[in-house]
């Protein structure tokens, strides 16, 4: 061990000086000189000066804003267009920034798949962007590596693969709608002709694609137009929940659902084994297991196509068929992606026969690049991998290591694999290279909507943690001329006449004008009408698989907003029990939370059960996407992985284990105990036609106070149309994002302490086997005579001059009396410092909304900060606030425009008009609170022939 007395002495170490001289000749020269005080000081000064010249992280150029960028005013928001990608399809968004940081996602009104609305996933992408668990850097065999290492490795691979035209190269992506990615993939396949490209989405739409091919002979995309349909027959349909374009479909469907505002109310039939959102809004819902569904739809199809009388079919089939035929030219059949391809083909045939083409549906050229049978594509890939035929595999997004059983093991036989993933997952931990994927907020790209409309996606921020996009990886792999994502995307559109104008307009509007897919000129193959899928096997239990509505295929497992977003019907959070029917629960004596062992062939899983009213007796549903093993802190230890059971063909078995676990649902009681009663008023269209005001029986309130509350000139109020609400939850997440509403975690939800300011109440009416369900968004009613205000001893909740019931957090001492006295129970209490423990950095919060401390009450403010913003703008221009100028977060997100908000004292305002609706009513009016929020009662257009179901 070398001994020394001073650093100076140490630096004279011969070996060190020699090494230093080799590496830093100038330093060697300096060290060689006798050390002088002035020299030392000079060197120190120079070192400090150089230290200030930190080149940053190398991911981009940081230019200090010596001259403020135009249009950026400190503390005022800016908006930039972008897109939310879901299953490869784009829904346009506008991201609100404050001081350069994205804080809120809104829908893009210009975009056909958004029309200004967002889905819950669109709202939640903000948290994915800010997720502290995202991968911080590249890793090679789980050891940190840097970009140069990757470049070197890709160069080596390119040379190696080029030798045999890329025979061992495989590329795996999800569904591709991005023209740029498609161009790059095509270029890569041209460069390596022997390479192959596989596509796979864990939540398959293969049946949709195959059905179109069966019906029309080649891939086409069918776009339903529910606004034009008088009669809709939805078969296990995802039209309102997750189909590409679901936000637009929901808007269109809702436009025909309120008899006050539509000339002719549509009639919706739904048939399905497990409840969907379409069914929750439908006029008639038929619960049907696979066998009954098969028989019923075949009967309807035969009746429409061959005019045959349904025989041996369920009772409803005849009525549905008759109604569809009666509405010739205005009828629509929609089939969900979980039904076989033959059903889709048959539905095309029925729709054609009903004369719907061009009216109730359109056929356009396919949106996806090179649509294919993805299940077969992946199966082939896994087979080749397992056989050792795959030398190099590049996985661009997706997590097949989790969602495709057998993939992870086969990956071990691939010499070189690269996984592009936002955070370490089950695939990246097995891949040779794990490359952090940039969030869609961090990169340039492009993508198409359900109708083909193109959005150029621009970055909203510099990458928070470095990372690469799929475009960059492909460019590096193929040694393309451009490697920057912006240049890559621009190269795709370079040929456009007036490129600069196109580019500018596309970014400014969020859509490329006129880029929708052209109509497909195809004729129905006559044999499509004669197709019949095999009769489903009759077995005691049918195990069905559906994506979890929030976590989807598992990609959102680390998103706390989505984890704690109550599932539309079960209201479950943080978990995915096996969904069973009330019939099998009664038979097996199972209650919610009982653990069962589900066996399919050799695969098995132990999971608790949850009873879903309205689920077909012989069906059990496993929700995919939970049970992630390699995931961030939020998703760890949540739920159960049903993917391994999905491939099995053996009849499933379900056995009780005798164990019981607690499941967190925000519905803290037996849902069938309490029907909608007078809370969700509802009736039939026939009754409405007789007397539109038939639901207006206001209870007689005996009161000593006969004065009605006086409205101020500016009186904020809201009307919610229960005919429009589909229970999609977009408003709930929009409210959380806008108002910094904290997530509390499973344990606290079990403790009944969730914090949602806006919740969607769900009521059932009827038998557990086939109930009608009702949704009702519930938020602070801003009562004129607010019961919460008089009981607060410190006056922390008071009325303002515009009729808002405001909560003064600083004054609140936390007696919680206001919550006791609130008939609507919309007040939430911070039992702990929930906001302090949130899984997101403080910069992800909305700076205009106070973050609430421990021990204070909070509740909906009608987005007070948005009102203030509009008021300031109006004051500056010395005018009153215009109608529609204040849009609450829930209202903005709502795909069906169920919310209407504004000045109820302005007769011209939309909300005032809606409150004049004959269906308008107040919840718990007998409490004499005079709520500012009212509802439009739910009307159902029941088929008189099926009256017993109405």
């Amino acid at each position: 061990m070398k001994q020394w007395r001073s650093l100076d002495e140490m630096t004279r170490d011969e070996a060190f000086v020699a090494r230093a001289a080799q590496e830093f000749p100038a330093l060697a020269a300096a060290l060689a000189q006798p050390a002088r005080r002035r020299t030392v000081l000079k060197l120190m000064a120079a070192s400090l000066a150089l230290a200030g010249c930190d080149p940053g992280n190398g991911a981009g150029n940081l230019v200090p804003a010596v001259v403020a960028p135009p249009d950026i005013v400190p503390a005022l928001p800016n908006s930039y267009t972008g897109a939310n990608l879901f299953g490869g399809y784009a829904a346009g968004i506008v991201v609100t920034h404050v001081m350069g940081r994205p804080i809120k996602v809104e829908g893009n009104p210009n975009h056909p798949a958004s029309l200004g609305a967002t889905s819950a996933h669109g709202q939640a992408m903000l948290l994915d962007f800010y997720d502290p668990d995202r991968a911080f850097g590249l890793s090679r065999r789980e050891l940190p590596a840097d970009r140069q290492d990757l470049l070197a490795a890709l160069t080596t691979e390119r040379a190696r693969l080029g030798a045999d035209h890329g025979a061992g190269l495989r590329l795996l992506t999800g569904s591709v709608t991005s023209p740029t990615l498609a161009r790059q993939i095509d270029a890569l396949l041209a460069q390596f002709p022997a390479a192959r490209w596989h596509q796979w989405e864990p939540i398959s739409r293969d049946a949709v694609r195959a059905g179109a091919v069966l019906a029309y002979g080649r891939p086409v995309a069918a776009i339903p137009r529910p606004a034009a349909a008088d009669v809709i027959f939805a078969i296990d349909s995802d039209m309102l929940a997750s189909a590409p374009g679901h936000l637009a479909f929901a808007r269109a469907l809702a436009s025909r659902r309120n008899p006050v505002r539509t000339a002719k109310m549509s009639r919706v039939y739904a048939v399905e084994p497990t409840p969907t959102l379409v069914a929750a809004t439908a006029d008639h819902r038929f619960v049907a297991g696979p066998a009954e569904l098969h028989a019923g739809f075949m009967a309807v199809a035969e009746s429409v196509l061959q005019n045959a009388a349904p025989s041996g079919a369920p009772a409803w089939a005849a009525a549905v068929a008759a109604d569809l035929k009666a509405a010739h030219g205005h009828a629509l059949v929609h089939v969900g992606p979980d039904q076989p391809a033959e059903f889709h083909a048959l539905a095309h045939a029925v729709n054609e026969a009903l004369g719907g083409r061009g009216a109730t549906f359109d056929l356009v050229e396919p949106i996806e690049h090179a649509p294919t049978d993805q299940a077969a594509s992946l199966a082939a890939l896994i087979q080749e991998m397992a056989a050792g035929q795959v030398d190099a595999l590049v996985i661009l997004g997706g997590n097949p290591g989790f969602s495709a059983p057998g993939f992870a093991e086969a990956l071990g036989r691939v010499r070189f694999s690269l996984s592009l993933a936002p955070m370490p997952d089950e695939t990246s931990e097995r891949a040779t290279w794990s490359v952090p994927e940039t969030h869609v907020f961090e990169t340039w790209s492009d993508a198409r909507a359900y109708d083909g409309t193109i959005t150029i996606i621009q970055p909203q921020a510099l990458p928070l943690h470095g990372g690469m996009s799929a475009h960059e990886v492909l460019a590096l792999l193929g040694a393309e001329a451009q490697t920057g994502p912006r240049d890559i995307v621009r190269a795709t559109w370079q040929d456009h006449a007036d490129f600069d104008g196109f580019w500018h307009d596309a970014l400014a509007n969020g859509v490329a004008a006129g880029s929708a897919s052209p109509p497909a000129q195809v004729a129905l193959r006559p044999e499509a009408a004669r197709l019949a899928p095999p009769t489903p096997p009759s077995q005691p239990i049918n195990l069905l698989f559906r994506p979890d509505p929030n976590l989807w295929d598992g990609r959102y497992a680390n998103n706390p907003w989505l984890q704690e977003l109550p599932r539309p019907l079960t209201k479950l959070v943080w978990d995915n029990p096996l969904l069973i029917s009330p019939v099998s629960a009664a038979r097996e004596k199972l209650v919610n939370g009982d653990v069962v062992r589900i066996t399919v062939g050799t695969a098995w899983l132990e999971a608790p059960v949850w009873i879903v009213p309205g689920q077909a007796a012989e069906c059990a549903v496993g929700l995919l996407g939970y049970g992630r093993r390699v995931v961030g802190t939020v998703g760890t230890g949540t739920g159960f992985d049903f993917f391994p059971l999905r491939g099995g063909t053996a009849p499933p078995r379900i056995e009780k284990t005798g164990r019981h676990v607690a499941l967190a649902s925000t519905d803290h009681h037996n849902p069938l105990d309490a029907g909608p009663r007078d809370i969700v008023r509802h009736g039939t269209l026939a009754a409405f036609t007789r007397d539109p005001r038939f639901l207006q029986e206001e209870p007689k309130v005996e009161t000593m106070y006969h004065g009605q509350p006086q409205l101020s000139a500016q009186a904020w109020g809201m009307s919610i149309d229960l005919n429009s609400c589909i229970g999609c939850n977009a408003c709930v997440l929009a409210c959380m994002a806008e108002n910094n509403v904290p997530v509390v975690g499973k344990a606290q939800v079990l403790h009944e302490r969730e914090m949602h300011w806006l919740r969607i109440d769900r009521y059932y009416e009827g038998t557990p086997e086939a109930p009608d369900s009702f949704f009702q968004p519930m938020l602070c009613m801003h009562c004129e005579e607010a019961p919460c205000e008089v009981v607060c001893p410190v006056a922390a909740t008071v009325h303002d001059q515009e009729g808002l019931n405001v909560m003064v957090y600083n004054r609140c001492v936390g007696t919680r009396f206001c919550s006791n006295n609130c008939p609507y129970k919309v007040r939430r209490f911070n039992y702990f410092a929930f906001s302090h423990e949130e899984h997101r950095p403080p910069i992800a919060r909305n700076p205009d909304v106070t973050v609430r401390a421990r021990g204070v009450m909070e509740k909906c403010t009608f987005c007070l900060q948005r009102i203030a913003e509009a008021r300031i703008a109006a004051d500056r221009e010395n005018r009153p606030i215009r109608d529609g100028e204040v849009v609450t977060a829930c209202q903005a997100a709502c795909p069906t425009r169920a919310f209407s908000f504004g000045n109820i004292n302005d007769a011209g305002a939309e909300v005032a008009k809606r409150k004049q609706s004959p269906l308008d009513y107040a919840v718990l009016a007998e409490a004499a609170t005079h709520p500012r929020v009212s509802y439009e009662a739910r009307i159902r257009n029941a088929n008189p022939d099926l009256a017993q179901n109405a």
């Binding site: 009981v791 001893p793 004054r811 919680r816 009396f817 919550s819 008939p823 129970k825 421990r854």
Partner: protein, 450 residues
Amino acid sequence: MSTTQLPMQPVVDPAESPGAMTDRIAAIVLRERAYLWWWLLMIPSATLAGVMVVSILWLFYAGIGIWGIDWPVVWGFAIINYVWWIGIASGGTFISALFFLVRVEWRTSLNRLAESMTLFAAACAGIYPILHLGRPWFFYWLFPYPNTMTLWPQFRSPLFWDFCAILAYVVSSILFWYLGAIPDFATMRDTSVRRRPQLFYGVLALGFRGSGREWRNFRAAYAVLAAIMAPMVCSVHSIVGLDFAAAQTTGWHSTQFPPFFVFGAVLSGFGMVLFLALPLRRLLRLEAFITGRHLEVLARLLLVSSLCVIYAYMMDAFSTYYGAEPAEKIFFHERVTGLYAGVYWSTLLLNCVLPQLLWWRRLRLNQALVWLISSGVIVGMWLERYGIVVVSLHRPKLPSAWGNFTASIWDWALFAGTVGFFFAGLLVVVRLVPIISIFEMREILRKRQA
């Protein structure tokens, strides 16, 4: 011989003389070493009081989320226990103030014990409303004091009335207890032979020497305080009742709540006096002063207040079905058949059914049975408040907000802690203060001798 012919026992053993009585009662306090039973009771009580301190410190550190309260049951043990303790406190005030004003002789043997009980029960009750707050360090915002924010409290809020009522009640109870003990402190000062007790009681006696002027002033002040306290015991419990009745909440919105709460309070108050007096008279050998007469009178009072409570329960059920409110009916149905039905039926059993045994004099004179019934009433009144707070809140008007409540370990720890604090406090009083009012007892004995 039927029990009705049993002779009524005197309020004090006729063999007692003022001097002997003074010596005997003073001797309990002036013993150099405490009784063994005193230690045996004190150790667990003090331990539990320590648990209370730990529970409060942890509560302040971690927040009220450590309790079982949730949504919609945002009030829980803090309010249940607050109402329970304040109800128990009523017993002492009732006996010492109301029966003082109506000049009831038997009160003299019990009033010190009952008032001491009131003191500590009120102390236990008094801490709960503060601990109950989400941000307890701002509790003083309920007080209408001039401040730079120029903010007043919400005068319409029952919690503000409650804050004033409790404050007044606790302060008056302390003053009433202390004022009533001053002549006895003087006696102790004069009786003790050692320097330290002399100093201790001398300070507490505030220089009371028994002059005529002092006695005149004392009696006037005591009578005024008693005249304030007697109606206050009704107003305090009425206001506690209004904490609930003034809300729109299902199960609470009832005009009968103020008298109902007074009945309930008095029931538990008498129950607690019996619960304490029965063992204490044996342990301290006070049978000569707390005679069978006292026990019988207390048992009768217990029966009467039980009948009042029965009336209130009946009206509660009647008004639910007489009114047209569906939510009230659902709630009531849930209350008698639902998850917490056991709470309701136990309440009825303990507060209504069992006290009916006291109609029979022979049973009234059975001390073990009376002690069990009074313990039952104390538990029953706690369950009644559990029903009012938790069971009402768990079925609000909107079915989507229905929920349940489960108490946490810290709920129980704090509750047990206050029980320990209550008994520890009483034991300290038993050790340091004459547990029977000597000067008043002296008057009775003198009267009898005369």
